[in-house]
């Protein structure tokens, strides 16, 4: 299970996988910030994330802030129950746009 990035209709879909903790957060942060830098809208697929903690959340918050500064969108798609639980605990489920899948995100203009 490794993270992947692919371009779909002029958007970047970043698919994260596995357990995103202190050990893996730096590599996830790098991947997200590099994606945001390409000035496309970014859809972060969290369907294969089985665990995420405060350090993983911090990487996503930082990427969202970078995207806002650049005027691009960053949203979450297909969020696994484990990841959704953590976004809810952090009250970030209202800060991030969250869509059930890629088509819903594209239809919503992401």
């Amino acid at each position: 299970m490794s993270d992947t990035v692919r371009e779909v209709n002029g958007n970047l879909v970043v698919r994260l996988a596995g357990e995103i903790d202190l050990d893996r957060a730096p590599e996830v942060r790098r991947l997200l910030l590099d994606s945001v830098k390409r000035s496309l809208d970014v859809l972060v697929d969290l369907s294969a994330v089985t665990y995420i903690d405060s350090s993983g959340i911090a990487s996503l918050v930082e990427a969202l802030q970078w995207a806002k500064r650049r005027g691009t969108d960053l949203c979450l798609i297909a969020v696994s129950p484990e990841a959704l639980r953590v976004f809810e605990l952090a009250r970030l489920d209202k800060v991030f746009a969250i869509h059930p899948d890629m088509n819903a995100a594209l239809a919503a203009g992401n």
């Binding site: 202190l22 903690d53 405060s54 918050v61």
Partner: protein, 149 residues
């Protein structure tokens, strides 16, 4: 926050772990906590939350107590009483004032500072203090079992 809260509660040891304070070891530690929480009868959400709390507590030790040096040990005691699961994370770092461990205000959007907030929100009790031997800090957390199970 009293020292009394940190003395041994009327509970049975499930397992005690000792491991180096390194981020790469946390996958294994979380697996242990996950198994133990299931053994105590917690459902999947509660099990997830307990794993998260222990993960955050160990992450604080790795980053703050040992400042990422990765050489100090972490002790994790897992206990079960008839009505709750008790988890105790001990480090051998310098004394930390409990006030430092206040969770931050979520209003502001910034990365970081969520760990303590998660711990306090998912666990029923959290007590922070010096270890009984006087060397290091102890974070003791407990979660009530679901009476319906």
């Amino acid at each position: 926050m009293s020292a009394a809260a940190l003395t041994l509660p009327d509970a049975e040891y499930l397992v005690e772990l000792r491991f180096p304070a390194q981020a790469s070891r946390m996958v294994l530690v979380r697996d242990v906590v996950r198994s133990a929480a299931r053994l105590c009868g917690f459902d999947e959400t509660a099990t997830h939350d307990i794993v998260l709390a222990v993960g955050e507590a160990c992450q604080n030790v790795i980053l703050h107590a040992y400042e990422g040096r990765g050489d100090g040990p972490i002790l994790l005691d897992i206990l079960e009483s008839p009505d709750r699961m008790i988890l105790r994370v001990t480090d051998f770092g310098p004394a930390v004032a409990p006030a430092v461990l206040q969770p931050r205000d979520l209003g502001e959007l910034r990365p970081g500072g969520l760990g303590t907030y998660f711990i306090q929100n998912v666990m029923d009790t959290t007590d922070f203090g010096r270890s009984p031997g006087g060397v290091g800090n102890v974070l003791q957390m407990s979660k009530k079992k679901d009476p319906s199970t």
